[in-house]
Amino acid sequence: MLRPDGQLQEEKVFKDPVHRYIHVRDELIWELIGTREFQRLRRIRQLGTTYLTFHGAEHTRFNHSLGVYEIMRRMVENLEKKMTWEKDERLVCLAAALLHDVGHGPFSHSFEKVFQTDHEEWTSRIIMGDTEVNKVLRRMGEDFPARVADVIGKTYENKLIVSLISSQIDADRMDYLLRDAFYTGVSYGQFDMERILRVMRPQEDQAVFKHSGMHAVEDYIMSRYQMYWQVYFHPVTRSAEVILSKILHRAKELLADGYEFQQTPHHFQSLFESTMTLEEYIRLDEYIIFYYFQAWELENDPILSDLCRRFMDRHLFKYVECDPSEQMIIWPELQELFRKIGVDPEYYLVIDSSSDLPYDFYRPGEKDERMPIHLLMPNGSLRELSRESDIVESISGKKRTDHKLYFPMDLLLDQQEHGEEKRRILTLLHQQEG
């Protein structure tokens, strides 16, 4: 049972390399951290395949979720001095921050693309379903789980609360930028979070920032911009992501075709057939994925075993820059040449685009788009950030799109067979780069 005041007898702290300490005073939060659904996040990396590019990027959704909670705790502490709200809204905010990623699966980005699932839906199911998380939340009241799910799903009535966890500058993004920079070891990605929290002011629909703190917000936007290009959109990480997606596609296809696996994918079967239960989903983690990938290296299907070896041993695809309007001219010929040399283009010739990534730049926002960042001017009016900041304005209008064509260079360089076709493929590919 929770204590009547809802507070722990003694404050608990987690040592954290990004925020130094994460403070927990509420029994609710402590008990949520102890649930099996939350502990599962220790087995899901925050940055998916990025560890193959930046070897330090082994941090998990568990670390990040605690970090988002800690930022939210500090935000709430500051905002409570400037506004009043219903008594339990504070705990709704903290629980939502802690649980916002609880529905993420292993390598969720690839999984979601291949199987058309949505981690936000799984988050809602974990919060509302028959889970330890739900039991802990329900002790706060029957409607408490639904309120937390609504905040995370951005359908909560109080839009200010939603904006603290999900907007163009929120607890989630602030933690992942700082944390991902720390663990990848890159020198960019830093900004003065304390300053941003100090200049944050509550408004009806969102938190805004005092004009005097504009430079701290500029740094945050620059950090987001640099992390996008240098870390999140790194071509090697994307190559690993491409191979991972193709492994899942291949396994799904083989299962549908009745292929007899030496290592049947029991853990994925219901996912492949879109019948996965909540319990089955909770049991999926990256350890399971690696187990199958290693086992599948020995499968008889040459495509599945080759792709798994490439992923596990980091023998990734190479890439060339790709202009879709040029590409469309040579695409049919390229595909035909791949078939002639006995390499299935469906699996070995892949275009990856900027829109395939779950990260984005800051958008100043025109009508009908997402809410932009607003500055609170000395006269009390609000101004969109890029209208005041030359730096933000200058990067807001820049090219944000990019396509790359991935392929197995090793197979093309081995020209003992089909030498002529392979040379032609290489010519076509390099023609792409201009």
């Binding site: 879709p324 469309m328 001219i329 829109s355 944000r400």
Partner: protein, 165 residues
């Protein structure tokens, strides 16, 4: 190759022109929910279901000159008109020849409606696991500034019913 992009080009081909980013967002969402083969990921935002992925795909196609984007100044904001360029048409023909991907009638019916109405329809679809009364409560709370009436909501349900049959 760029299969999801191609579906958006096909959408513009079938509708000839779509006016407004919000309208485009809501049309794709509603069409997806009604079984059209769009795969963009949506989340609930200030104006209802919104897909960052879709925004980026359109941006990519504008930069590849597959889509023409016309920016018009309106009172206090910009409005965007989208149509298929001749290069976009060539791409569709080269990469997806003879492939009929979308339901023209459905898309045209959506395109005839205002973006405000489509915002309501897409919001209703977003909450389709709730009862009609619960959906109404959600709409009145989350969309207070849009001033939707009971009649608007009824009209949206009727419209959806018609599209489904």
């Amino acid at each position: 190759m760029l299969q999801e992009h191609a579906k958006l080009l096909a959408l513009l081909k079938e509708t000839e022109e779509i006016v407004g980013r919000k309208k485009l967002q809501k049309m794709v969402y509603i069409a997806k929910r009604l079984g059209q083969p769009f795969r963009e990921k949506y989340q609930f935002h200030m104006f209802g279901p919104y897909s960052e992925e879709l925004t980026l795909q359109i941006e990519e196609m504008c930069q590849a000159d597959f889509v023409e984007e016309l920016r018009e100044k309106k009172a206090g904001y910009y409005q965007y008109r989208y149509s298929l360029s001749s290069k976009g048409e060539q791409f569709l023909a080269a990469v997806f020849p003879e492939k009929k991907m979308l339901d023209k009638e459905l898309l045209r019916a959506l395109n005839e409606k205002s973006s405000k109405f489509l915002e309501l329809v897409s919001t209703i679809l977003y909450f389709d696991a709730l009862t009609k009364e619960e959906v109404k409560t959600k709409v009145f709370k989350l969309k207070a500034k849009q001033n939707y009436t009971e009649e608007d909501i009824e009209e949206a349900y009727t419209f959806l019913e018609k599209l489904r049959h």
